[in-house]
């Protein structure tokens, strides 16, 4: 089992505030609150908009993120974090009412599974 895995997460714009607290609660430092703030914006075929974050996390992260949350030493709004946690679904496509995560090394494949395209293509 690798030490780290890649996870790609699509968060609807309406849930960014709660997702920020979830990132803060399950991340490696308080700075992880900005996980979606600094991420690029994508949209699905229907025009719904999302922020998408992708990166390497500890292999145990998915299990920890699904378990009952505990407050980190740097503090977090745990009620907001729990609201975001309840919205998480593993596997695409992305949908406006959920936070969708895809696990896998290939970011392009994850974006295809999520059904998202970048709003400001590069």
């Amino acid at each position: 089992m690798p030490d780290q895995i890649r996870i790609t997460i699509a968060c609807p714009l309406a849930h960014l505030d709660d997702a920020a607290q979830f990132s803060r609660a399950t991340g490696y430092s308080a700075a992880d609150e900005a996980t979606f703030t600094i991420s690029p914006e994508y949209r699905d075929a229907a025009g719904n908009r999302y922020r998408v974050a992708s990166g390497l996390v500890a292999a145990v992260y998915p299990a920890n993120a699904a378990a009952p949350l505990t407050a980190p030493e740097w503090g977090a709004d745990m009620a907001a974090a729990a609201r975001a946690q309840a919205l998480i679904r593993i596997g695409g496509p992305a949908a406006p009412g959920q936070i969708t995560a895809v696990i896998g090394e290939d970011v392009s494949a994850a974006l295809a599974e999520l059904g998202l395209t970048r709003i400001d293509p590069v």
Binding site: I7, Y28, S39, G55
Partner: protein
Amino acid sequence: MRHDRHLGHQKGHLGWRGLGQRGVFSPLPFHPSDLFAAGQPGHWPGGYDPTQARLWQTATGVVARVAAAGQQVAIVPDRSQGGALGPELSAAEYTISTANQPVHTAAVEGLYRFDMEIVSGDGRARQQGTMPSIAHTLSFAPALLEADVIARPGSLLRINTNAATGLVCRPTLRLIAGNHASQEVAVARPTLSQSGGKWCLETDGGDSLSITLPAGTYGRAWVSAAGVVTVDTVTNPTNALIPTAVGATQADVILRQGAFTSTEEAQIRAYWGGLYA
């Protein structure tokens, strides 16, 4: 000074070519450090070979040297200023027990080199940086451990120990000159990669490396692992990872206050052409 930089970054290069056919010294070949010779601010990592560049990650809160492809990169030191070390910021020696031992509260943001020797006593000790920083905690060292950590004003750099009785440690802590790049947000860190035998950073499309530079117009040049060089200008740059497409690579980057002259651009292209083409 010019010769020192060359000696520091280019093994076997003595700073001159020796006597030419006419019995005079030939001019020095171009080196990126020449772009900063007048003290211009900027950022130049000198590539991402982990055996040459001191790259750092903070996976799961523990600082570790980036050593292999596939690892995330949280800190990229700037070599444009030669990486000179500032004055010692630690007392010479501490005798500590179970309490955390403060060493220094950072007054300025920067990259600090923190290393420590355990002189005597029972127990283990490690360096630790508190918020606001991405320093976090180093693994316990059996004897000697060194790391470069980012700290911001107010960040406490300290020794964390499990010693029950007196443990004598001798830390050293010094600020490293330069404009270093870092990323505190874990999933926004690029990944160290190797493409065609060339070390590079690879982005997943949402990565960046934050950098703080004096305001102004900067010449910006970067090269992919495939040797594609792009040169332009940017105002008030805040990011040292330029490509944004999924899977794109960056093998080196130069940010230098003031647009590059046509001669400088040609020199940069030729230099990287010899390394990455």
